[in-house]
């Protein structure tokens, strides 16, 4: 039965009863085991799972270097390269900025194939978890979640953005990404001094904070060796302070402004791990929007598109865990649903 809309409203309901019957075929007795496993996953206490996952990932990437673990320098999250002793790999933005800041004669030769190969490896890392790297692995994201937990313990209310502020601030990450790419190119062309390279790393809070976890506090200094260094390191300290204050009062404050997030989103269409929504099952109750750290309203309101991961999303899957409708939201890997919203799971979690 084709739906013919009489109203031009974008939110007009769509019926697909026939399609729905095809989509969920009756389960046979044979896949009782898979049903059992699936139920176990869908009923999991997501917050606890995430806490432990993030902790393990944090220890791995902040201290893994001591165990000589090296996962390369194209990682799609902030495993800071300045954490020289403990890092188990380097965040891609650092080598990217270094590569882009090569002198132009060198940059426009075949020597720069390494930029493309670097991007390729980054892409291969990225498509595994899509933006889930942000929500489950990134050490900076984990730190923000810990700050949030601290605030929660103290009973301090979190901050919200108004919709207007949201719309404005969400563009900042693209601006930062553009600067992260353009400034090194300018440095390579001789426009600015090398003291400004790598520009984003100099202002990134991870540079200050993550090495501190291995006892290296040398990044907490202002570098007076040149005017550029003074400005950049001062900005860095201010951004770190803002990160701590902001991360304390707003859930995942920095993730909203993160250029790595913008870089992710450029490739997210091709990723394997996705957040899908079945708009028909949605009652627009807004529970997903309620729990979303990034305050993304599209999860609740979008009922036509199946792919609802926006550029702000960190794929933390809290929305999936907070949805009381069976199958309305699901996280899929290569099309296979991994974690689905279920009524029973919701009831168990919201106790």
């Amino acid at each position: 039965m084709k739906s013919s809309e009489t109203q031009a409203s974008a939110m007009a309901p769509v019926d697909n009863r026939a399609q729905r019957a095809e989509r969920s075929p009756p389960s046979r007795g044979g896949d009782r085991v898979t049903a059992g496993i699936r139920a176990a996953i869908n009923h999991v206490d997501l917050n606890r799972f995430r806490f432990w996952f993030q902790l393990v990932a944090f220890v791995l990437f902040v201290y893994g270097g001591y165990l000589a673990i090296d996962l390369g320098s194209r990682l799609p999250f902030f495993s800071c390269g300045y954490n020289q002793e403990g890092r188990a790999g380097v965040c891609y933005l650092l080598p990217l900025q270094h590569q882009l800041s090569r002198p132009w004669p060198m940059l426009f030769t075949a020597a720069s194939l390494s930029i493309l190969s670097g991007l390729g490896i980054f892409f291969l890392w990225f498509i595994v978890l899509n933006k889930g790297w942000c929500g489950f692995v990134c050490p900076l994201g984990t730190l923000q979640d810990w700050l949030t937990a601290l605030r929660r313990r103290l009973g301090i209310r979190y901050a919200n953005y108004t919709r207007g502020q949201f719309a404005q601030l969400t563009k900042v990450k693209y601006i930062l990404l553009a600067l992260t790419i353009l400034i090194p190119l300018g440095i390579g062309g001789g426009l600015w001094s090398h003291d400004m390279s790598p520009p984003f790393c100099l202002i990134c809070p991870a540079r200050m904070i993550l090495p501190a976890f291995t006892g290296d506090f040398s990044q907490f200094t202002i570098d007076f060796s040149s005017k550029t260094s003074i400005v950049m390191t001062t900005l860095g300290m201010m951004v770190t302070a803002l990160f701590i204050a902001g991360g304390f009062i707003k859930k995942r404050f920095f993730c909203f402004l993160c250029p790595m997030s913008a870089l992710h989103y450029l490739f997210s269409k091709l990723a394997l791990f996705r957040l899908k929504k079945d708009g028909d099952k949605c009652t627009r109750c807004g529970d997903c929007y309620r729990v979303c750290d990034l305050e993304i309203k599209e999860i609740a309101d979008e009922v036509n598109k199946p792919n609802i991961m926006t550029d702000d999303c960190t794929l933390c899957l809290k929305c999936v865990a907070a949805c009381p409708e069976d199958g309305a939201l699901k996280a899929t890997f290569a099309g296979i649903p991994i974690f689905e919203s279920t009524e029973a799971g919701f009831i168990r979690r919201m106790r």
């Binding site: 109750c285 309620r290 009381p324 009831i347």
Partner: protein, 427 residues
């Protein structure tokens, strides 16, 4: 708590038309249908005691009367008070309330006013310490002042007329927060985290039990009739929540067994009907009962005396008061499909979703005469449903029992046409 009194000592109202009206409906529900679930006995008894024998309904703490489902019950429970839904379905009160309202106006509000005006209120609760009246439809809004004149303390819970905008959401969150403060003034108890969490757990349990019951209605052929489900949800208005939840859970267990056994509560080919529109409030279960008498089965509904009251569940991110109260506010506003809002996209989507999930054959849209908002939405809902090929029967009625014959004819015709269509499709 209440020992049944012998009939000689029963008060005079017992033999009034009001009691007889309720008795008629209840007897009809219990006796004229086969295969009533054993778990429904609790509810039948409850209604018999409350509506027919007029026994008092007990409550804990202060009694807060509510006139709409948008009032957050959890806040009331959290301060140790008890909520009671005042919406009334009695024709007797409807006639009393007609003094206060224009001729063609909502019977439900008339009945509520009539009840509040009477000396003996059935269900026999104590006098509410506060009547909370959300500013939803026009009739209820204007009734606010009238209720106050009747000698009740009334609190207007300010509800926005739109729900898409951020301003509306913030406005409603503030209303709810103010309401919580108001409750503190009424009960003298401050809202604490622990109390609110416990209250939310109670309602969550009730909602979960309802969802399970709701889920059983998807079964084809039906394992439970709509008349019973309406009774169950109507009982939620005034019954003790924990007792109610237990009874529903028992009913669910029985229905699970029925489903396993392959029990049919209705005929195999009975047309499955989605009931929407103005809420059927006991004893005015006229239309659902008529439908099921005529051979249909009401498998789903979108009314505020059943589905809408209990379906949506609250999600909370941080179990601290600011988030819990705002979460409650969001749950009571955002998914609400009441026609008092400017747009009804969510209602139409929900109707289609229910129609699909419950394999519905037809929709019966009831609007009480004088209910402006439901009457106005009829057109858009009809268009949406017809576009999907779902037949809809629109019935405008009120509480008077006089039109039963005419309605029954129309319903039978509707069900016939559905059956014919199904046969044609099958062929």
């Amino acid at each position: 708590m209440n020992t049944p009194t012998p009939i000689e000592e029963q008060p005079a109202f017992q033999r009034t038309r009001q009691a007889r009206e309720a008795e008629l409906t209840l007897d009809h529900i219990t006796d004229d249908f086969d295969g009533n679930p054993a778990g429904m006995q609790y509810f039948y008894e409850l209604f018999r005691r409350t509506y027919i024998k007029g026994e008092p309904v007990a409550h804990e703490g202060k009694l807060i009367g509510t006139t709409c489902i948008q009032v957050p019950d959890e806040l009331i429970y959290a301060v140790g008070a008890t909520p009671v839904r005042l919406c009334n379905g009695s024709y007797h009160y409807d006639q009393i309330g007609a003094d206060f309202m224009p001729a063609k106006s909502c019977s439900l509000v008339k009945a509520t006013l009539g009840m509040l005006h009477s000396e003996t209120r059935i269900p026999k609760t104590a006098k509410p310490d506060l009547v909370v009246n959300p500013t939803t439809c026009d009739q209820k809004k204007k009734a606010s002042a009238m209720i106050e004149d009747m000698g009740y303390a009334v609190y207007d819970l300010e509800m926005p007329n739109t729900k898409e905008s951020e301003e509306a959401r913030i406005y409603w969150q503030r209303s709810v927060r103010l309401f919580a403060h108001k409750l503190r003034g009424v009960t003298g108890k401050r809202l604490t985290r622990k109390a609110l969490k416990a209250a939310m757990a109670r309602t969550a349990r009730a909602q979960a039990a309802f969802r399970r019951l709701h889920g059983f209605r998807k079964a084809s052929p039906a394992v439970v009739l709509g008349k019973d489900v309406f009774l169950v949800t109507n009982a939620f208005f005034f019954d003790d929540i924990d007792r109610w939840t237990e009874a529903v859970e028992k009913l669910n267990t029985e229905l699970a067994q029925r489903q396993a056994d392959g029990f049919h509560a209705a005929q195999r080919k009975a047309p499955r009907i989605l009931f929407t529109g103005s809420p059927p409030v006991f004893p005015n279960l006229k239309l659902p009962v008529l439908i099921e008498e005529a051979g249909g089965v009401v498998v789903a509904d979108e009314t505020c005396s059943a589905n809408r009251m209990l379906y949506d569940m609250t999600a909370v991110d941080e179990w601290l008061l600011y988030d819990m109260v705002d979460g409650l506010a969001d749950r009571y506003l955002k998914p609400c499909t009441c026609p008092i809002f400017t747009r009804n996209d969510d209602r139409r989507r929900r109707l289609l979703d229910l129609a699909a999930d419950f394999a519905v054959d037809g929709v019966v849209y009831q609007s009480l005469a004088g209910c402006q908002v439901y009457e106005m939405e009829q057109k858009s809902v009809a268009e949406t449903l017809n576009a999907q090929g779902i037949p809809m029967l629109y019935i405008e009625t009120d509480y008077s029992p006089d039109d039963q014959g005419q309605l029954s004819t129309r319903i039978e015709a509707f069900l016939e046409s559905i059956k014919t269509r199904k046969r044609k499709v099958a062929a």
